[in-house]
């Protein structure tokens, strides 16, 4: 009996507990071990430093490579130090252009112009000058960068205005059938430290891609050129930010059809430490070779950089006397040539070789036949006109002719005019370096040098009746002087 009571008491005690417990708790939650990332196992990637391009046996050359600084360019000198050093190691000279007014002048002697991430626009005149430079054989290198555009944020309105450098270089590149897309390339699967740092392993065969196995660009726009060469192509996993798709027709670098315009979508790869990653240093060396490979066809518009030797021999033809006016004009020329460190010497005989400036009148044509004949010039017997290939008949009076010939033994510039006075005017035009009064076609130029002495009649007039004042009559109004 008593034993039963114990059980009853126990039940009475437990039932409420169980009832409440079961009312709230239907089981025990699973005890588990929660897996978390093994942070210690993560190791920071390091830049894959490649074989640095050897500096031994670098072929020495010459040339001036201009770096544009006139368009608020978004780079620091240190950013492009590797390229500039590669140029200098090859015997090239690096110069910068800080104002647009000197562009035309400097492009007369430069091998290449380098434009890096501009943030102000190129004027139509600048584009014309650069196009002419490229057509003469100069090289144009354009580096844009997806990480270097300007962004302005209006905190009040919350709007952001972006000024990518692509908008500023595309007007310049359109003429060469190249366009830089306003995007960036990325690769999430395989990259150099960050998704926007792209490996390139597929190269178009060209001197610029010589000895390259793998390079990396760091935040590059994609570039395309239907007629040109896409030098660096990404893998299928390399996508454009504009549409998250791979475009095999675009890449990180493009060379124009004529081979004179090289465009990169990035210039960060030129800066430390990225210039030594993979084969980037070899690529930079190839770019330096490309820039210094720009050899302009020297045309009259390259004056005063027509001559390559340290001495320019000035040969006055027999009909030209070294008057004070002529000597004054030659000294003006000497000033213009100082920039090229060229010395002027007067030659008394026809120079056989070396750089020569010939000063002559049309009357000296026979004497100067060796200089004139290559240009197929014929002077008519009447003495009124000259016939020039591509120009037709030109009046002799008041016109001067420039003839430029590039030779292995020396370059020759021949100046011809009707009279010594016209010749002086022509020489002054040439010395000024401004050919705005001239028509230049390749190596022949015609300049208007005034009316010319022969145009005036003996009375000093224009062959018309000269009005002479009639003697004063008594009806004339008296002057205070009487």
């Amino acid at each position: 009996m008593k034993k039963n009571l114990y059980w009853i008491a126990l039940a009475a005690f437990i039932i409420p507990i169980l009832a409440r417990g079961l009312m709230f708790y239907r089981g025990f939650p699973n005890q588990r071990k929660v897996a978390t990332p093994d942070y210690q196992a993560f190791i920071s990637s390091q830049p894959p430093i490649g074989d640095i391009a050897l500096n031994k046996n670098i072929e020495q050359t010459s040339g001036v490579i201009l770096f544009d600084l006139a368009h608020a360019n978004q780079y620091q000198p240190a950013d492009v130090k590797s390229l500039q050093e590669a140029i200098e190691k090859r015997g090239g000279k690096v110069e910068s252009i800080s104002d647009t007014t000197s562009l035309e002048y400097k492009l007369k002697y430069a091998s290449a112009l380098t434009v890096i991430s501009p943030s102000t626009a190129f004027s139509a005149d600048e584009i014309r000058i650069i196009k002419a430079f490229v057509h003469r054989g100069g090289k144009l290198l354009v580096f844009t960068d997806a990480t270097h555009g300007l962004v302005y944020t209006d905190f009040f309105s919350g709007s952001t205005i972006s000024y990518p450098d692509t908008n500023l270089v595309n007007p310049l590149l359109t003429a060469f059938d190249i366009s830089v897309n306003n995007d960036y390339l990325y690769n999430i699967e395989e990259h150099e430290g960050n998704f926007r740092n792209i490996y390139f392993e597929s190269f178009e065969k060209n001197d610029l891609t010589l000895n390259l196995k793998q390079v990396a660009l760091y935040g590059t726009h994609s570039i395309e050129s239907p007629s040109g060469l896409v030098l660096l192509r990404g893998t299928d996993a390399t996508l454009s930010s504009s549409n998250d798709a791979h475009d095999p027709a675009s890449g990180g670098a493009v060379l124009s059809e004529n081979g004179n315009v090289l465009v990169f979508g990035d210039f960060t790869f030129l800066s430390s430490p990225y210039q030594n990653v993979l084969d980037n240093s070899t690529l930079i060396a190839n770019i330096a070779d490309f820039a210094l490979g720009g050899k302009q066809n020297i045309l009259l518009e390259n004056f005063p950089f027509l001559f390559t030797q340290p001495v320019l021999q000035v040969y006055p033809a027999p009909e030209v006397q070294l008057t004070a006016e002529i000597i004054s004009a030659i000294s003006g020329l000497q000033t213009s040539l100082k920039i090229s460190e060229i010395e002027i010497r007067i030659a008394t005989k026809t120079p056989r070789d070396g750089d020569v400036l010939v000063l002559g009148t049309f009357a000296d044509a026979e004497e100067l036949a060796s200089y004139i004949n290559p240009f197929n010039i014929s002077l008519d017997e009447s003495g009124d006109t000259i016939t020039l290939k591509n120009f037709g008949d030109i009046g002799r009076a008041g016109n001067g002719i420039l003839l430029f010939e590039e030779n292995k033994n020396g370059n020759r510039l021949t100046l011809l005019a009707e009279t010594p006075e016209d010749l002086i005017a022509l020489l002054s035009t040439v010395s000024s370096g401004s050919f705005y009064g001239c028509i230049l076609q390749d190596n022949i130029g015609i300049c208007s040098v005034g009316y010319g002495g022969s145009f005036l009649d003996e009375t000093g007039g224009f062959g018309e009746d000269v009005l002479t004042p009639e003697p004063a009559t008594g009806d004339a109004t008296p002057t205070p002087a009487g």
């Binding site: 008491a9 005690f13 507990i17 709230f24 089981g27």
Partner: protein, 283 residues
């Protein structure tokens, strides 16, 4: 023993052997707490103050046995890396003992999603914003020296070279990715490339991709938490005040414009697990 004595004996037995144990049982039963589903709200970015408050609530939930499960209710764009990681690690401790369920109200982006993947189940509204997996960092300046500031090494002022900072961000990203893969596991219907794209998805799309589990409300999350904890007749309680927290202020995390507008940019440079909404960009 007469009838009266017998009656009293029966009463005595009933009182002693039934009523008393029953009362004692009832008293003892009352000591069994009604289960609580704790709710931790995060309606802010993750930065030192908000992280500390979250950790205080998590610790309270760990220490109090009546709290059988926790619901994290998010409306957060994420925040600093270190504060996110701190909360993430404390969440792991909590999860080892109690189920945790996420409900995304407005947004669970970046760092907030980092925390969400360390829970057992994720609910989202159809238009909640979920994802934005990745890291944002401000690269330090190229080292320079100043006349009036003296330091003892080139990176004393700047912390690290720019390239090293970039690679550091990759490590943080790798940690985030691993957290997502571990937390979501086979529920993910997308690959690593899509996860790391940094996209932010609407709730419906997030569920389709396995970034979240189901569309649902806070009530759904509470029910789910109770189910995982195997409790019934529970009550749900916000843990903020229970944990002894009171509203406090801290230096603003986001930049305030002079016109009083809160901008989506943090006030300090650094590394962030943060979603910065796209501003209208004109070109």
């Amino acid at each position: 023993m007469n009838q009266t004595d017998l009656t009293w004996e029966r009463i005595r037995i009933w009182l002693l052997w039934i009523a008393l144990p029953l009362v004692m049982g009832l008293i003892a039963a009352s000591a069994i707490p009604r289960p609580v589903i704790g709710i931790i709200q995060l309606n802010d970015a993750i930065y030192p103050l908000s992280a500390r408050e979250m950790i205080t609530q998590i610790n309270y939930a760990i220490d109090n046995p009546e709290i059988r499960a926790v619901v994290l209710a998010f409306d957060s764009p994420g925040g600093t890396v270190v504060d996110t990681e701190a909360v993430y690690m404390e969440l792991s401790r909590l999860r080892a003992k109690k189920p945790v369920v996420t409900v995304v109200n407005g947004m669970s982006a970046s760092g907030a999603y980092y925390l969400s993947v360390n829970t057992d189940y994720i609910y989202a509204k159809p238009s909640s914003l979920v994802g934005n997996i990745g890291v944002i960092g401000y690269l330090p300046s190229t080292p320079v020296i100043f006349e009036d500031i003296i330091s003892t090494g080139p990176y004393k002022l700047w912390g690290s070279p720019r390239d090293a900072e970039m690679r550091q961000i990759e490590l943080i990203k790798e940690g985030f990715l691993q957290a997502v893969l571990l937390g979501r596991g086979k529920r993910l219907n997308i690959g690593k490339e899509v996860i790391l794209s940094g996209k932010i998805w609407a709730g419906t799309e997030a569920v389709r991709l396995g970034i979240a589990d189901e569309l649902g409300t806070e009530n759904d999350a509470i029910k789910k938490a109770a189910k995982l904890a195997r409790v019934a007749n529970y009550r749900s309680v916000g843990l903020y005040h229970l944990a002894g927290l009171q509203s406090s202020t801290a230096a603003p995390f986001f930049i305030q414009s002079s016109e009083g507008i809160t901008l989506p940019y943090p006030t300090k440079p650094g590394m962030y697990l943060l979603f910065i909404p796209q501003l209208p960009v004109k070109q």
